[in-house]
């Protein structure tokens, strides 16, 4: 399974009046880990556009287990769990110091041809080749 990990130090602006990271900000953390993995694969935003495809997120699910407090550093792991017909990533957010799981998440992306907005039901050969070269 392909995976990538980033370390994030949530900043003051990420926190809400209840002194925890506001739940909507986690989408940014997921994206940072997903982008690190797509960079590793060599098929991130610029390559997607070059291949004539957009990959909109069509589904996002987050399960918040423990809150994030000011000063905490977190590790976000993104794992590619599907790539042949759609892109699906699983995520784990952990406290960097203890390794404790803070949040589980999943996102799903579908390929859309930019020229006409047509939904594609298979990944392009380029992506298949790049993923398989790393597996």
């Amino acid at each position: 399974m392909l995976a990538a990990e980033v370390t994030i130090k949530p900043q003051f602006h990420d926190f809400d009046p209840m002194q925890v990271v506001w739940h909507g900000n986690y989408a940014r953390y997921l994206e940072e880990a997903r982008a690190a993995l797509l960079d590793r694969i060599g098929y991130n935003y610029p390559e997607m556009v070059a291949s004539g495809l957009a990959w909109p997120i069509v589904d996002m699910q987050l399960k918040y287990i423990r809150p994030i407090r000011y000063g905490q550093r977190i590790r976000v792991t993104a794992t590619l769990v599907e790539y042949e017909h759609r892109l699906r990533f699983d995520y784990r957010l952990r406290d960097e110091a203890s390794g404790e799981i803070l949040t589980k998440a999943r996102t799903t992306q579908l390929a859309v041809r930019i020229s006409d907005g047509e939904l594609m039901f298979a990944a392009p050969q380029e992506l298949l080749d790049k993923v398989r070269a790393l597996l």
Copy 2:
């Protein structure tokens, strides 16, 4: 069923390089509709704190059906679907002009006692009374 609706005009800063609203920004739209409903119930953020409880989001699920383009106005409806043991809201985002469904979502919140961080498994009487008065 209790529901509230807000109309939102996504702004330039909500859009991403693919010319659609970035998926993570929808959490703000959901919150605006949820806050409108909680205001109607009379149990929004200030009343939660006054009752000694925080209500963190523990689960958020979004299903993106159609993208939002610049210039579109959207209606976001939040419906209270559970309130006795936890707060659960269902959401529908619709294009204001056509009524077409753009996104479906759900959030779940649990009550946490602010004084000691203890998880509560029942809503406070104040919330039950306020919801029932409106039903």
Copy 3:
């Protein structure tokens, strides 16, 4: 002088751990008022692109006088103060109830030709005509 006004209810996610709107979020409020004025003029983002020009913000200044608290509604006024060589807007944020000034701000935009990135030192005739028709 051309001006437009929007009313904004800052939401929970706009507030920081000190219980006031985080200073960086004001850029969104300014943009909403500026977009309302540009819509009135008929030269907002889609018309800018259609005219072959981008109008990046090259300068932004904010003077925060009083904080915004949860529950407050604010009125944001954008006034066009220059348009012949560059776009400059002045802003006032006021408490809706009392009219008290909360923040003063100014933004400056320059025209850049999208095709080659060349800086333009004069507004296009289309913009001049549209502004003068309203004055």
Copy 4:
């Protein structure tokens, strides 16, 4: 002069439909560099609150010289330029690869006593001692 530097890789969600980082997102980058410097001084958000003071931003000025494109990495330097009566930081954003200056900025913060909202016109002894120990 006390300074700190952070390296930031702007993410997909930071970019706007014109393919550059949206101007309002820079406030987050400034805050990350400022927080790094305040951590070094030992007087960041938790210590501010412990000292009974809030330090709201009362002025922010940004001069955008060159845009940030997808894939660029930037270095943000925050320098403490005043600390006896108020906190003032100067910022430089540079392209990491070329060292070219992208943006100049300045923020000003005043001390406000949390207990009664009173404006303080001098920094607390704790902050003076900590800054001078590093100079």
